[in-house]
Point group: C2
Chain length 440, copies 2
């Protein structure tokens, strides 16, 4: 058994900045940090937010163990005074942000973290890691689900990414619209539907295919899905129906020209009377391959590599930037770096989406002081995109767990359907709607 807290899932500079600011007093300054991306992956029309529920899980665990404190002390990363400050650390600030499953666009505040500089700075890497990876997978998943039309997509990608990333990917895939996952730890942690067929090794370990199919059906029933491309597909399909009868649940094809092969297998199954036996295909599928298979007689898809690697965009380029902070007189002031090509918009922000004829139209980001934003009167038909996740350290638990994931899945489908139809185009292009920034 291994035990851990997420408190060291950070870059060292977060602790050294904490240490320096505790010494000079600025660690206590109230701050607003915002997470956003400067651009979507090249040619993408939208992104899908995922990971926020996992951030809330991580925050609940974000207390430093004695061993972790000893490490910080032994390595002289922080001073004795800072160790004392960290001993009872828990985040007491507030977090708002986009809902999981929400569409996002460049320069809109996916997450807004408010608290003292010291506590907010410790979260930088952890929050970014979670949002950058989970959103990359959810974004790819949503594109795949669109391309697959109404056919279910299943996550089989765990083996092609880090073993923990695999768990996050399963969760994010479901938010993007996937119907199940092969990953058991994800199924356990989030009560997700677990799916699976068999590997080629299962057929190979038996003396012949007939023995393998008999064994699988004995253990899992006739509703199971048999893998038919270990030797010869035509023979395997014949054997499968001989062994299971026409009640056979399904067959899986994992190689060759999937469209042509699916058609031949469908014809053969129908000729054998197995008209209800479904066909699952797998083998390096991505959204383009799924689109190309729309007219092939396929019932469901198993997607691996391209799902868990974000289909060419394995991260979202989200950044965590200080946008407002107290000055020496206790007055909140908007701030921003002015680095070449990477300047940010100062000030805390609100985010809305406006709609025309029920279709999303513009992402409105409104920036200004706390007072100005409080007084801002958004047009009635603008939808507020920010929800409260954490209120002065108290975590809203309704955004965690299985139900939150299923709500996010529904929200993703609804939100995507409200974008202009070009959003679902697989052709490269601009974001589906523009982001307009207003500074009050």
């Amino acid at each position: 058994m291994v035990t851990y807290t997420p408190a060291l899932m950070t870059d060292m500079y977060e602790y050294t900045m904490l240490d320096a600011t505790l010494q000079d007093g600025t660690a206590q300054r109230n701050c607003v940090f915002e997470i956003y991306t400067r651009h979507l992956p090249q040619g993408r029309r939208y992104g899908v937010v995922a990971g926020t529920g996992r951030i809330l899980e991580a925050l609940e665990q974000f207390h430093l163990s004695d061993e972790e404190l000893r490490f910080l002390s032994d390595r002289h990363i922080v001073s004795k005074e800072t160790i004392a400050w960290l001993e009872n650390f828990s985040f007491k600030g507030s977090i708002r942000g986009y809902r999981e499953g929400e569409m996002f666009f460049p320069n809109s505040p996916i997450l807004q973290v408010e608290g003292s500089f010291g506590e907010c700075t410790l979260l930088e890497t952890l929050l970014l890691s979670i949002l950058n990876y989970d959103s990359a997978v959810a974004s790819a998943a949503a594109r795949m689900v669109s391309a697959a039309k109404n056919r279910p997509c299943m996550d089989m990608g765990g083996r092609r990414t880090n073993e923990w990333a695999a768990v996050a990917a399963s969760r994010a895939a479901v938010i993007g619209g996937f119907k199940g996952t092969a990953n058991l730890l994800a199924a356990q942690l989030y009560d997700l539907p677990a799916i699976g067929t068999a590997a080629h090794s299962f057929t190979l370990v038996h003396d012949n295919e007939t023995d393998a199919f008999h064994s699988q059906i004995k253990a899992l029933g006739k509703g199971t899905t048999l893998l038919v491309d270990t030797y010869n597909v035509e023979e395997a399909v014949r054997t499968a129906v001989e062994v299971a009868g026409p009640e056979l649940g399904g067959v899986r094809i994992d190689s060759g020209d999937l469209a042509a092969m699916a058609q031949r297998v469908r014809n053969q199954l129908d000729a054998l009377g197995a008209t209800n036996t479904t066909i699952t295909v797998t083998n390096d599928l991505d959204e383009y391959a799924l689109a190309a298979l729309q007219t092939a007689p396929v019932d469901s898809y198993g997607v691996g590599t391209m799902l868990v690697t974000g289909s060419g965009a394995p991260t979202c380029a989200m950044v965590y930037k200080l946008t407002e902070r107290e000055n020496g007189d206790g007055v909140l002031q908007p701030v921003a770096k002015k680095s070449k090509d990477k300047a940010s918009v100062p000030g805390r922000k609100l985010a809305y989406r406006s709609f025309e004829y029920n279709l999303a139209d513009t992402e409105h980001v409104v920036s200004g002081s706390e007072e100005k934003l409080a007084a801002f009167d958004a047009p009635e038909d603008w939808k507020n995109l920010l929800v409260d996740y954490v209120d002065h350290g108290t975590i809203d638990s309704s955004y965690q767990g299985h139900d939150a994931i299923m709500n996010a899945q529904k929200h993703c489908a609804t939100s995507l359907a409200q974008l202009p139809i070009t959003a679902q185009s697989l052709m490269r292009g601009d974001p589906a709607i523009p982001t307009e920034i207003t500074v009050l």
Copy 2:
């Protein structure tokens, strides 16, 4: 605190296959599984093995907890008999494979797992997850280290990948030749050098840059590295040397044209007498950017996104295939699937590398029965590439921990230097040496 075992970091079918084969008796058959890749990422000349040490860590933890057994039972994933079999599970087989840091090429057996079908099948996803991700990062890291010539590269990528993947990435980066990591958990778990400067938010939270620099130097000493591109680089460099004096350790530039900016900053530092102050650059660097910076006066590099996402190849496409198994009479037989375009070479394998004029020449994969391989007399100048990691359940601990990582780093450098010089070309091309497969 969260506790876990890696036992559910698997696809469901591994447990259902175990269940079916326990029922029909084939779970006890002796088997050899091999991990290999069918191809390197497009245009890459070599891959670097990483992750094997983490596999050994995971194997030590691979025992099912009561909660995990209950999950498998409640979900009806396996039968009661299989639950009983799993209660005291630990892997009792043997594992051989390439050393960490070794170069790899298509179709060579990176890892060879021998044991009963039941125990070997449970490891499939976990082993692949670890090797696929860690090797992707180590491969990218080695290319970056080559391109950086003798300038140190530092891992700052944690925020751009899953929070656990970040830890694995730091470890793999060091195997590929990186000199340190910003990630504290990796630094703690593997006793790696932790590095860091400061974020723009640190400058911004202070009333002005002078205050920020004073604070950082007070906390971390004059040897620290100050971030100089929050507002105006020229002013920041002047302020930095005013505050720290010419003993200032270093400055970091994170935006703009890095080559031009580094030259201007170098000139300015030298003019201010800070001739020993180093320059670190960061900002979406990859191996091509590093190569382009070779003549710029830069002292070290911080690499993020492109490191942890494998610089365009976030996974290695490694697969886990059954190559030999006992038949019903207890005789070991070579096996292989014949799927279209994905056929494998049957039989367990040996792997060697031959050299001509001290340069690697050919990767030799020799396949055959246990007896034939035992009798195989390799030419004297062939280097055996397979080492023993696990012997009938006993793990060789010399391949785990800090020292093993540093050995792997050395091995990677040596092994890469022995490849033909074209291996270090960043131009797309074929694998640096061919793989020759001999079936005895």
